[in-house]
């Protein structure tokens, strides 16, 4: 055994074991791709989230053609015009004469890359007046792929932001309650129970109702994060409190007191770091809840408002059975939610296996 190998930290060992779980790694990369696409949504999507063309209302996914007259040519699409069939269903008829080649790195809607650099470049697109809708279009003729990519920004970040805030809060409350014990503990824990007593979804609705309905989307975004954090901290605080009660009896806590550290320093530096293996797993496991929560709020029209996109409010278009029947692609945001939630759950499970010291002792360790 080389010297380097001998001194792998606990974290490195855990990561190594995590790496052996193929499924978790696969899910991890899916999430990386999703998060990157959300960050570069402006560039990857052919249109901006509010670029609409009513002539393409509920336009089905555009077919890409590779051949013309049986000869291979540049991938292209055909322009369409809208007619109605005998049952007044929309039919888009392709016109062979209006051929539009798919071009890469085209100039399109203006945006600011990562919020800073003004740019017009898009990964792909077609020349106007042609429109390319790889995943179809919604009622107002907006490109669903573009809207899903923009919606990912809200849906993916809201989970992380919500978890982040609620965990800081939960860790602190739990740490303080466990460390001081007695009355402090009693008050804080009864407070936790008050929050846990109310079913989360109703609490969420009630809190949303407490704020004015006509907030702009940025405000709504922060409001949702705050609401989620408000609901989510209690269950974590209870567990951390239990761990903190046991951790405060460790000798290094006594030693930390003996060198004169303040209570806050002892809680944050000598107690909470030891709950990290639990908290990481709990974090990964609770992100899906936040994503679903945002979707639910937006689906009910209480979250992110049109024209801004989130996966939840994209799905709200699919609430009527009629729309699902003749434009099934508007359900696609649901697939994205599904994949994201599954990925987080798989990763959370894998992390739990890795972090659980009991499992490690069963001879799996290197």
């Amino acid at each position: 055994m080389s010297k380097k190998e001998k001194h792998l930290s606990q974290f490195q060992l855990a990561m190594r074991q995590f790496g052996r779980n193929r499924l978790a790694i696969f899910c991890f990369w899916i999430l990386v791709i999703l998060y990157l696409s959300a960050a570069f949504a402006d560039f990857l999507s052919p249109y901006s989230y509010n670029n609409e063309d009513r002539n393409y209302s509920y336009c089905p996914p555009t077919k890409i053609h590779f051949f013309e007259n049986r000869k291979p040519v540049r991938p292209h699409i055909y322009g369409t015009h809208l007619t109605f069939n005998e049952i007044h269903k929309r039919v888009y008829v392709a016109e062979i004469k209006r051929r539009h080649d798919i071009k890469f790195f085209v100039k399109g809607d203006e945006y600011r890359l990562l919020g800073f650099f003004p740019a017009r470049l898009h990964l792909f697109g077609v020349d106007a007046p042609g429109r390319i809708h790889l995943l179809g279009a919604d009622s107002r003729g907006r490109d669903l792929l573009s809207r899903i990519l923009f919606g990912a920004r809200v849906s993916l970040s809201i989970g992380v932001a919500g978890v982040f805030i609620s965990f800081i809060f939960g860790l602190l409350v739990g740490g303080v309650a466990g460390y001081y014990g007695g009355t402090t503990d009693n008050i804080l824990m009864r407070l936790c129970e008050m929050f846990m007593m109310v079913p989360g979804f109703y609490l969420m609705l009630a809190l949303r109702a407490a704020f004015p309905p006509d907030l702009n989307s940025l405000q709504v975004y922060f409001l949702i994060v705050v609401i989620f954090s408000f609901i989510g901290w209690a269950s974590l605080a209870r567990v951390v409190r239990g761990m903190s009660i046991s951790l405060k009896e460790r000798e290094y806590v006594l030693a930390a007191k003996a060198v004169g550290l303040s209570d806050f320093a002892i809680i944050t530096r000598h107690i909470l770091p030891h709950t990290v293996s639990y908290s990481i797993v709990a974090m990964a496991m609770s992100i899906p809840g936040y994503i679903l929560g945002e979707s639910a709020l937006s689906l009910l029209g209480l979250g992110i408002q049109d024209p801004y996109a989130s996966w939840g409010n994209l799905l709200s278009e699919a609430m009527g059975i009629v729309y699902i029947k003749f434009a099934p692609w508007i359900l696609l945001p649901g697939l994205f939610i599904f994949v994201t939630v599954i990925c987080f759950n798989v990763i959370g499970d894998a992390l739990r296996d890795v972090m659980d010291p009991l499992l490690k002792m069963e001879g799996k360790a290197p």
């Binding site: 001194h7 930290s9 460790r250 000798e251 290094y252 006594l254 030693a255 930390a256 007191k257 003996a258 060198v259 004169g260 550290l261 303040s262 320093a265 530096r269 000598h270 770091p273 030891h274």
Partner: protein, 261 residues
Amino acid sequence: MTNPLLRIENLTIDIYSPDGVKELIRGLHLNIEESKIVALVGSSGSGKTSIGLSILRLLPAAMAIREGKIIFADEDILNVPLEKMRSLRGRDIAMVFQEPLSAFNPVFTIGCQMNEVLKFHTALSWRQRKGKILELLDSVGIPEPGRIAGQYPHQLSGGMRQRAMIAQAIAANPRLIIADEPTSNLDVTLQAHIIELFQKIRKELNIAMLLITHDLGVVNALADEIAVLSDGRIVEWGPTQGILKDPRHPFTTELVNSLVT
């Protein structure tokens, strides 16, 4: 004669258990003069460690000081506000624990934990603290202080850990060190090294020490005075050589005899 550095007067410690209240220490008197090493010996469970902890006001919740005074540098430390007490801990009174492996937090490096002490008790900048840590580690005889400072407690050997513990204790130049069985988990050669180290510290830094132990060999090599604790009281207290040669109390006799064999 000036006042002693530490004066414990009539200290009584109660211990609470489901069966009721018991007296662990009853009316204990003990003085430690400036830069003197006083050994507190007694059998296990006699409350030696509790006396050490009560000086720092860190008794576990099941124990409480019923009465008595602990006067450190003319200040009754049982009555100073908590904030003041905190600044005394580590800066004026430091503690060396019996088991350095559990007294160091396993998730931080040695250097990081020494840095904490310096950060709380000195006004040194980050860079100065870093230099001071290396200096301290070097002064307690740790080879390659730079490497050791970056290591986690479990990566060090027992002797190195104890040295690091001592380095942490002397970091803020305390006037009194409470050493709780500092050598009982080490083998004999390492014990000798640590004893040597304590002698060096005492000679160079003039730090007084309360040496809590049951090992008369260590006492013989280090202590100026012995206080023998038995049945919650100091039963015999005097200069080391005198007591080792001529023990008066039966318990001390027993201890001394066990040393010879």
